[in-house]
Amino acid sequence: MSVLVIAEYCSEGLKSATLNAISAGLQLGKVDVLVVGYDVKSVAQEVSKAQGIEKVILVDDKIYEGGVAENISLLVADMADDYTHILAPATTIGKSVIPRIAVLKDCQAISEITEIISEKSFKRPIYAGNAIITIETSDEKVFATIRSTAFEAVELSSSSSIEEKPAGTDTALTKFISSELVKSDRPELTSAKTIISGGRAISSAESFALIGKIADKLGGAVGASRAAVDSGFASNDCQVGQTGKVVAPDLYIAVGISGAIQHLAGMKDSKIIVAINNDKDAPIFQVADYALEQDLFEVLPELEQSL
């Protein structure tokens, strides 16, 4: 089997989800990594250290700035003949390009794989993780996104060659204008070891700041329920859940979050879950390892003081 993994990155560099996707790829066969974008040489350098890979292919051109899916898809579709599997982490670029490349090759894509059974058979969650389906594809090639929390990341401790390739066709369909990235000194949500998330009950952005302070003491990231994001306490990219981010840290602390299935979909694979809620019947308690039934406005200041 020969596997191509499309790397995901951001302005800070390589996204660690790429390393989880590589590890999934290595279960299938030999792995090449494609870094396509604009001004992404350093990303190629970084990922070339990933253990176990054959080589990195770098395509650096302004037509890929901001991850323009139409152009990336054409490029990868042209490379597809050399590979049996084309994988990407289930992150923004991966989700945008994998279905598009698949259909250009008349194949059905497979989203958010959590387990590899064989080269053509995979497990993935459906219904917000309330069921796990095992499927087998009869398509000639596999185009899939990889759920990063389900695969260990490979280490960055080796070195392989970087092969530069010229850009493909510019479809000129979509042009990147600008990006607004949320600046934060905290670890990134999807790779953080500790996450503290707040829900609707936090009631104000000021109180939500306390969640941030505790996160800093724990060296962790801040998450939020949809209700907290919609109320404006936290930014969109903090949302954990079916339509937000899927996380699986060592420690997840849910504060004033009821535990709706759409929220659980994003965090129930965390190692240790702590729930802080004043309603003993809150569904979040059914998945919590440690349940503290108390008013969060008493708990948060005390927690912040004692850490």
Binding site: A69, S96, R100, N130, T134, S138
Partner: protein, 249 residues
């Protein structure tokens, strides 16, 4: 400008799902069904474009069995001008849905197709991307804000770590993010009127689409269940347990 909104009928998001005894599907008889929430957002956006004078007609299209008519009635009640049901009794995969919608689009020549970003049953997040690839149109995934200017569209997309602004040519395919808008509730008089409206209909075969099952379901199982843990009485005990028992802080 015409806007097409592809709509899927799914099990209502508040329902607890049950896996069928033979482990090859999810029980859907006697279960409350609804329009996929992201399709509601897509439809709302199309209706707002019409209300703002930027679109002339909103056409909702569903690929599904005969019983999917009721989500199209909901689409009429929200404000769709026309509804089309492409009938297939088989469960079909995103690639075939995309081929069907692309074929409808070639007949209807819309300026925009707005899909939901994902269905909440299969959680695919694929169909919009596939439609745009088949038509060779721009794709704007996870749109949270759009504005039309003559022959182009400026969009804000939700991306990991923030947002991004892009400019695309028209016609284009947009996939609606949660934060594109807050869909309206249909009024009772509109729900009543929708019952009398005519749904245009054709079979998937009449559309010339050859569907093919590429993905075989081997098994569907429950996810591993977590055991409920222990109660702690205060912050002090919590910290003690996290330090010494779980060893995570």
């Amino acid at each position: 400008m015409r806007v097409i909104v592809p709509i899927k009928k799914v099990i209502d998001s508040n329902m607890q799902i049950r896996i069928k005894a033979d482990k090859t599907g999810i029980e859907d008889s006697g279960v409350k069904m609804a329009m996929n929430p992201f399709c509601e957002i897509a439809l709302e956006e199309a209706i707002r474009l019409k209300e703002a004078g930027k679109a002339t007609e909103v056409v909702a299209v569903c690929v599904g069995n005969q019983k999917s008519e009721d989500v199209l009635r909901s689409a009429f009640a929200m404000g769709a001008d026309r509804c089309i049901l492409i009938v297939t009794e088989n469960k079909i995969e995103p690639i075939d849905v995309a081929k069907t919608i692309a074929t409808v689009a070639r007949h209807e020549t819309p300026g925009l197709i707005i899909t939901g970003k994902q269905t909440i049953d299969d959680d695919n997040n694929q169909t919009g991307q596939m439609i745009s690839a088949l038509l060779g149109w721009p794709q704007i995934t996870f749109a949270s804000e759009i504005s039309l200017e003559n022959d182009k569209i400026i969009s804000r997309r939700e991306i990991d770590g923030g947002a991004q602004k892009v400019e695309s040519k028209l016609p284009a395919v947009i996939t609606a993010d949660l934060r594109l808008n807050e869909p309206r509730y249909a009024s009772l008089p509109n729900i009543m009127k929708a019952k009398k409206r005519t749904i245009e209909s054709a079979t998937i075969e009449q559309m010339g689409i050859e569907t093919k099952s590429r993905i075989k379901i081997i098994n569907i199982e429950e996810p591993p269940q977590r055991k409920a843990g222990v109660k702690v009485s205060d912050v002090k005990e919590l910290i003690e347990k996290l330090k010494n028992e779980a060893k995570v802080i």
